[in-house]
């Protein structure tokens, strides 16, 4: 069985880490990742940019692009995609395309487009 492990933190506290603290944290996490790779358990890993870099596409009647992260509490996180796009507009366009079948199925919801700052493909360590 594959599991997604989603990381939630107080963003202001993470932003307040000094560069040295942040690097030390990343180094500690790299050790855990290396163990998980050796155990054959680790899939792709991503660190996301701050929510201030996020944009949200809400789809209901017509899709609306809004600045900022997805902040409602009624909806739950049910899945995610990682896409590689040349521009931010491309990424929004991809989200729009992914919203189309959902809309057709009568679903309303949102897709948050958040840039990835660090990405490790499955089982690889750089």
């Amino acid at each position: 069985m594959r599991y997604a492990i989603l990381c939630y933190h107080d963003e202001a506290a993470v932003n307040a880490l000094t560069r040295e603290q942040d690097q030390a944290l990343m180094a500690d996490l790299a050790v855990v990742r290396a163990q998980l790779i050796a155990e054959g358990k680790l899939g792709p890993v991503a660190r996301l940019m701050p929510t201030t870099a996020a944009t949200t596409l809400r789809y209901g009647h017509a899709p609306v692009v809004m600045d900022g992260p997805f902040a409602e509490t009624k909806e739950a996180l049910l899945g995610f995609y990682v896409v590689d796009c040349a521009t931010f507009d491309d990424a929004i366009e991809v989200a729009r395309r992914l919203a189309v079948p959902r809309l057709a199925a009568g679903l309303i919801g949102a897709m948050e487009i958040r840039p990835v700052s660090v990405f490790h493909p499955a089982g690889a360590e750089t």
């Binding site: 963003e11 202001a12 307040a16 701050p50 201030t52 600045d67 902040a71």
Partner: protein, 424 residues
């Protein structure tokens, strides 16, 4: 992480929201600060036992408010209460506050807190010191260190500034759209002042003072989280991220300024650049260009060039042209001239800056640029005069040293000239 570390981090990240809300409630800065400190003390006692509350800011606001009210009651009844009387159940604390403390409230509370520091009668240095003390919660010692002054001098400066804002009228009702926009603009300018205070450092001070740049970026992100759809706040954040990204390459081992074109771009911080570029893209989607967005867009053009010769100077020239219409200033024109020199040659650029001579007669960079353009045109005698004027106006030893380098090159000019030579 020890108890103390996570509590300190949680208190710090809730500080602006909690203090802002307490200020709205008490309408008195000292009382708000006392209430906040009391709430922090209680958090230190209760959080290690009960664990962190779901909403730290909401907890601190209610506990701080109740503590201050208890204090008033205690004083009026003169009835001593035990120091450790029980707190309301934590769950209730949060439930009562959940509806009242939505993002919109926090937003105006934090904005008000920042805006108070921007009092127009306060000189820039006092505004910055006040914001660092009140909003960022830095200690007087830390602020004094960043400003390279003694602790008691900084203490005095902050006390004076606080007295001044205590006497000033503050609007506590939620601001209307126009007032909110004005506050945002004033606060953005103040945050950029904090950044520049750190960015303008040179030599041995750099390491200490770059903490101010980090703090400015932290404040800008705080503002942007509260106002996620304001393109100028995105622009300001992006501008600082993109400038700060170059910090590791800006000074050489001797503390001398390394110009953009000579910087080792491999030292630039890729993370900060990536985030800055995203924010520029996001901001420009709004089609409401402002000075921060445009300056950020210019910084983005530099950031995208892997080598100096890859810089799209025509794009930079175009952006400065827009900036000139949005925010006309001789300094902007001077900067445009640098781009013009790259695209159309030094003669065109020189013609563009000659009319600025009167207004920029006391400006170091004007003579630096003028000298470089004259030199490029082979007018060595006039170039020397311009460089001498620049040295006389230099603000830091690093600036003067840089111009001397130009003068040295002037002497070497009998050798074939490097076409990729720097202009500023």
């Amino acid at each position: 992480m020890s108890d103390l570390a996570w509590i300190a981090a949680a208190l710090n990240s809730a500080r602006a929201q909690a203090l802002g809300a307490l200020l709205r409630y008490f309408r008195d800065f000292d009382r708000a600060e006392e209430a906040f400190q009391e709430a922090c003390l209680r958090a230190l006692r209760h959080w290690p036992i009960n664990g962190p509350p779901r909403d730290s800011a909401a907890w601190l606001i209610l506990v701080g408010r109740n503590a201050a009210l208890d204090e008033v009651r205690r004083r009026t009844s003169e009835e001593p209460l035990s120091d450790d009387h029980p707190l309301p159940d934590q769950g209730d604390v949060e439930a009562t506050l959940v509806e009242r403390l939505d993002n919109a409230h926090y937003r105006d509370d934090v904005l008000r807190l920042l805006f108070i520091c921007c009092h127009p009668e306060l000189p820039a240095t006092q505004q910055i010191a006040l914001a660092l003390r009140i909003v960022s919660g830095l200690s007087v010692k830390e602020i004094a260190r960043a400003f390279l002054v003694g602790e008691s001098a900084m203490e005095q400066r902050i006390t004076r500034a606080k007295r001044r804002i205590a006497a000033a009228p503050v609007a506590f009702e939620a601001p209307g759209p126009v007032a909110r926009a004005e506050r945002l603009a004033a606060v953005a300018a103040m945050i950029y002042l904090v950044f520049n205070e750190g960015y303008s450092a040179s030599g041995g001070e750099t390491h200490i003072r770059s903490a101010l740049c980090d703090e400015a970026i932290r404040l800008a992100r705080l503002l942007l989280r509260l106002f996620p759809a304001e393109p100028e706040v995105m622009g300001l954040t992006a501008l600082m991220l993109l400038q700060h990204a170059r910090a590791p390459a800006r000074l050489d081992a001797d503390g001398a300024i390394v110009l953009l074109e000579h910087q080792d771009r491999r030292l630039w911080s890729g993370d900060l650049i990536a985030e800055g570029l995203v924010l520029v893209e996001k901001a420009l989607r709004h089609c409401r260009p402002g000075p921060y967005q445009l300056q950020a867009a210019i910084a983005a053009v530099h950031a995208r060039a892997a080598r100096p010769q890859d810089t799209e100077w025509a794009e930079i020239e175009r952006l400065y042209e827009v900036l000139e219409t949005v925010q006309p200033s001789p300094v902007v024109t001077l900067n445009r001239a640098v781009a013009v020199a790259k695209v159309h040659g030094a003669a065109v650029a020189l013609a563009l800056i000659e009319p600025l001579a009167d207004r920029l007669s006391g400006y170091f960079h004007f003579f630096g640029v003028r000298g470089a353009l004259l030199r490029e045109l082979g007018r060595a005698g006039e170039a020397r005069i311009a460089f001498d004027q620049a040295i006389a106006l230099a603000n830091t030893p690093a600036e003067a040293a840089h111009i001397r380098l130009h003068l040295d090159r002037l002497i070497e000019d009998s050798a074939p000239r490097d076409p990729a030579e720097v202009v500023t």
